[in-house]
């Protein structure tokens, strides 16, 4: 497994942990997390600048510099969009701002659960694929929806494990395994990871990568958690390839009964 790249849209990445930049208290924590995660891709969002809105955000002005210095590529997202129309416009603005046609597509249904709006998501994905974008959609853990997104031309699918920032891990491992089973594009477990074991489970289920921010940025020691989650991703990947034993209801002795003495 020395050369085992993640390939998305014909681009190779050696890291299977994608970082989200949300929630870091300052630049240094983000920089250290990038290094500890050995991340090569990191999401960023677009917001108004220069009129006060951004000045409460200490990352506002130079997050691009932090990521560039860390050797991490920017993956723009459409966070905060509730309609296909807004997501499409945001994607076009992101392409202009960051000179990339990769877009992490998020179209949210409500602000309490932040769950994807499937109808708007499909509409936005279809438009953006037609506009020449490399679309990586944040989706529910619905295998049918994931397949529809792939059929539309998305370059990856990014099902949630559980709601964004909830740290509940993977609520429906069965659905994630079904998505993996049928996917012809990389599956990136997106949202819900709370700790290293969640990331390991995602990879054991056959996901190609994990995207994670809150579990790292809001941890007591973000860099240490980044390293832990990276180890979880790597361990889960190795375990998936190694082929786990089937679950059984009862024990199966590993020591032969033959030759057991009568005492």
């Amino acid at each position: 497994m020395s050369h085992d790249p993640l390939v998305i849209a014909e681009r190779e990445f050696s890291s299977r942990l994608i970082l989200g930049s949300g929630g870091f208290a300052n630049h240094e924590l983000l920089r250290d997390a990038c290094a500890a995660a050995r991340a090569e891709l990191c999401t960023v969002a677009l917001r108004r600048i220069g009129t006060g809105g951004d000045r409460s955000d200490p990352l506002a002005r130079s997050i691009l510099d932090v990521l560039r210095d860390a050797g991490v590529e920017v993956l723009p997202n459409t966070a905060g969009c509730f309609t296909a129309r807004d997501a499409v416009r945001t994607a076009h603005l992101a392409r202009e701002a960051f000179a990339t046609d990769w877009i992490k597509l998020e179209v949210i249904g409500d602000d309490r659960t932040l769950l994807p709006d499937a109808v708007e998501l499909v509409a936005a994905a279809e438009t953006l694929v037609g506009d020449g974008f490399r679309v990586l959609p944040y989706t529910t853990d619905d295998p049918t929806l994931a397949r529809r997104l792939e059929d539309l031309g998305c370059v990856a699918v990014m099902p949630l494990g559980s709601p964004i920032g909830s740290g509940m891990g993977i609520c429906n491992p069965y659905n994630i395994s079904l998505i993996v089973e049928h996917a012809g594009v990389p599956v990136v477990l997106d949202a819900g990871v709370g700790t290293a074991s969640d990331a390991a489970l995602a990879m054991e289920l056959g996901c190609d990568a994990v995207l994670c921010a809150s579990a790292i940025s809001r941890a007591h020691d973000p860099a240490a958690m980044a390293a832990a989650i990276r180890a979880g991703v790597d361990g889960g990947r190795l375990a998936r390839a190694a082929g786990r034993i089937p679950r059984r209801r009862y024990a199966e002795a590993s020591t032969p009964m033959a030759g057991l003495p009568t005492l």
Binding site: G23, G50, A60, I63, A97, A191
Partner: protein, 70 residues
Amino acid sequence: MTRVCVNGEARTLGAGATVADVVRSLDLAPDARGIAVALDGEVVPRGEWAATTVADGARVEVLGAIGGGR
């Protein structure tokens, strides 16, 4: 005089003001990385900022990168 709404705030610019003028009015260099502009909801490519005038009553959004995602 041109009255426009920039990132949700009313601003008054000189007659014939362009998108580039709006960007400069926010203390941003026109060549700053990671900035995108929407004029009445439509993206204005950076190469067209200097030549695109903003009409009276226009809505301009000037956007940049922030930490976001998960």
